[in-house]
């Protein structure tokens, strides 16, 4: 496909037209089937969660395991605003995003000076602390949040239309961020923090920026999630939820935006498809996950971005090289 010259057409018109077309295709497939609509909505929400986590983990190289915590903030802010404040849905979602962004900023500022595994543990800890705060919310003066019992009766505002719209907007914003000056600075931070610093990249600023943006979109996903499940419950946003997003981006390929979109779709659809296995479902999921990691550790889609111009996607792939280590002593 020839590159489209016109900047405006390339950046606004093409994504809008393509996503509208995709929307109508999906709606016509799922037409009048509530379950399909639910699955599609869930896919869209997971796309938001996974791509935003990939911004932090894959593109900025800051290993976060606390994404569910920010999702919880978004869910609780948006959910309680529509239920108790009678806010309009979109306003509440944006407020949820803002809340999650504030949480992300507050968590990111102190923790992002840690590196690698320590950062992972710290974010995991903060994610759990957010959940614990919610569990103890009734004792902390926020009686209406009902603590561990959760808040039922959230209106089901998250239609597939809204979820799809927000997923497209999220991916569009993230793509524009990632391939902007700031995004490249984040890439530099990921590749080599010291070198980036030496080149005049304010590493802390970019780390906190990515973290805050990622957290705010997690909040958006949380708000949509709450208005889909019609329930606010602390157990929905535990460590396993963070793991889910991590699995999506690793399966899709770290630092690959389209990869994490596909990874989110793949994981969501697989988990739904496995429902028929009943009890064995999570077992099959775990085996599948381990096999994907063993046979394709760079993720199903590697680091190759998928775009309309590059359908070389199915090109023959290189065999996974076996580097050292296996026969130690001999080396």
């Amino acid at each position: 496909m020839r590159a489209i010259e016109n900047e405006f057409v390339r950046r606004f018109v093409v994504p809008a037209v393509a996503s509208t077309a995709l929307y109508w295709i999906l709606v016509s497939i799922a037409y009048r089937n509530d379950y399909y609509m639910y699955v599609l909505t869930m896919c869209a929400i997971n796309v938001i969660g996974a791509t935003s986590l990939n911004l932090i983990n894959g593109f900025t190289g800051q290993f976060s395991l606390g994404h569910a915590g920010f999702m919880a903030v978004g869910a609780y802010v948006a959910g309680s605003l529509t239920k108790f404040g009678h806010w309009p849905f979109v306003g509440a979602l944006l407020a949820g995003m803002a809340g999650a962004a504030v949480a992300g900023f507050l968590v990111g500022l102190p923790t992002l000076r840690l590196r690698g595994d320590y950062l992972a543990i710290a974010t995991l800890g903060f994610g759990e602390i957010i959940r614990m705060l919610i569990i103890n919310s009734d004792k902390l003066g926020l009686k209406f949040l009902e603590g561990p019992r959760g808040v039922p009766g959230i209106k089901r505002y998250s239609t597939f239309g809204w979820a799809f719209f927000f997923a497209v907007v999220t991916v569009w914003i993230l793509a524009n961020y990632i391939w902007s000056t700031h995004g490249r600075a984040c890439g530099a931070v990921k590749e080599d923090e010291v070198a980036a610093e030496a080149m005049g990249v304010g590493t802390t600023t970019y780390k906190v920026m990515s973290f805050t943006i990622g957290a705010s979109f997690a909040g958006l996903a949380g708000g949509l999630h709450a208005h889909l499940l019609q329930l606010l419950h602390p157990a929905s946003y535990d460590f396993l939820k963070s793991c889910d997003f991590l699995v999506m981006i690793v399966v899709g390929g770290m630092g690959n935006l389209t990869g994490s979109v596909l990874g989110a779709l793949f994981v969501t659809l697989i988990t739904e498809a496995l429902r028929k296995l009943l009890e064995l479902r999570m077992l099959a999921y775990a085996v599948g996950l381990i096999c994907v990691m063993l046979f394709r550790p760079e993720g199903l889609f590697g680091t190759r971005e998928f775009s309309l111009g590059a359908l070389r996607f199915l090109a023959p792939r290189r065999p996974v090289s076996q580097v050292g280590g296996d026969k130690s002593g001999a080396t």
């Binding site: 983990n57 290993f63 102190p110 923790t111 840690l114 690698g116 595994d117 320590y118 992972a120 543990i121 710290a122 995991l124 800890g125 903060f126 759990e128 602390i129 614990m132 705060l133 569990i135 103890n136 004792k139 603590g147 561990p148 010291v194 460590f239 396993l240 793991c243 991590l246 699995v247 690793v250 770290m254 009890e279 064995l280 999570m282 077992l283 999921y285 775990a286 085996v287 996950l289 381990i290 990691m293 063993l294 550790p297 760079e298 580097v323 050292g324 280590g325 296996d326 130690s328 002593g329 080396t331």
Partner: protein, 295 residues
């Protein structure tokens, strides 16, 4: 008196965390992997003990040590199998790949037990007949003596293995610098395998002890306990064996105190608050040394 009583309760809980934390810290020290499946090995240990104890109900003095050893043996095989199947092929890959497999293994073990044995809480059989003594208003049960006692014994054995045997020397060498250890003729594969075996055996012991002290087991018991034990390992300084034991004890006492002073719903929160404070104040942990990063 109340305080002393709580400390005694805390030590009992803390020695269980300490045993799990030792496995975390050893594995982390040697392959730099946060082994998320470790908490589930602990769960597996409790279940193996549960199954054996129900088959073997004869009341003898040997019942407890035999069950303990069997469970430890079973779990060390499990640990080696996990290492061989899930971690070894990915050893030279980015760490996130191994971490994801670890999460996969964790989900696998939980659901395997859930499907094979059942998702509900099970009452752990009474392997040791409970008695308790009252000394000046403090109640101490024999379990509260056995649990820390076993922990101390196992930690001493571990200390001996790590510092006085050839395998232990190899473990220390590999954790110090894997490539150089390899050049010096250390069989790195075997050493890593042994580390997993020992760590898993300790987790199994913790599983048996928790079954005795808090006789209720379920397939998901490993998640929270594993996370808390991991926090204990970080608290003591990850990769440092005495640190893990110290961190575990402190975590147990802190948790019991938090429940006593504030509320039982803060039971799980305290671990993470401790974690954040440690990471922000002294990320290398209580016993950790500051290592300057080479550029």
């Amino acid at each position: 008196m109340e305080l002393l009583q709580q400390i005694i309760n805390g030590i009992s809980l803390g020695s269980i965390y300490a045993l799990i934390a030792l496995g975390y810290t050893m594995v982390y020290g040697i392959v730099r992997l946060i082994n998320f499946a470790h908490g589930d090995v602990y769960m597996a240990g409790a279940y193996i003990a549960y199954l054996i104890a129900n088959r073997f109900s004869e009341e003898t003095v040997w019942r407890f040590p035999l069950i303990l050893l069997a469970s430890m043996g079973g779990c060390s095989l499990l640990g080696m199998a996990i290492e061989r199947v899930a971690y070894k092929p990915l050893r030279n890959r980015p760490r996130i790949a191994t971490l994801t497999t670890a999460i996969g293994v964790s989900i696998f073990l939980e659901n395997l037990v859930r499907v094979a044995i059942g998702p509900n809480f099970l009452g752990f059989p009474e392997i040791i007949t409970r008695t308790s003594w009252e000394i000046k208003g403090i109640t101490i049960s024999n379990v509260q003596v056995v649990v820390p006692g076993c922990t101390v014994l196992l930690v001493l054995v571990l200390h001996y293995v790590v510092h006085k045997t050839k395998a232990g020397k190899a473990m220390r060498a590999v954790s110090f610098d894997r490539d150089v250890a390899m050049l010096m003729g250390v069989n790195v594969d075997n050493t890593i395998r042994i580390t997993f075996a020992i760590g898993s055996a300790l987790a199994a012991a913790a599983g048996v002890l928790v079954g005795i002290a808090y006789p209720r087991i379920d397939p998901y018991m490993g998640i929270m306990a594993g996370l808390k034990a991991f926090v204990s390992a970080v608290l003591g300084g990850i990769g440092i064996i005495p640190g893990a034991a110290l961190g575990g004890l402190m975590m147990g006492v802190a948790e019991v105190m938090a429940v006593q002073l504030f509320s039982s719903s803060l039971k799980d929160a305290i671990a993470f608050v401790v974690l954040i404070v440690v990471l922000l104040v002294k990320p290398t942990g209580l016993l950790g040394k500051v290592a300057s990063e080479k550029v």
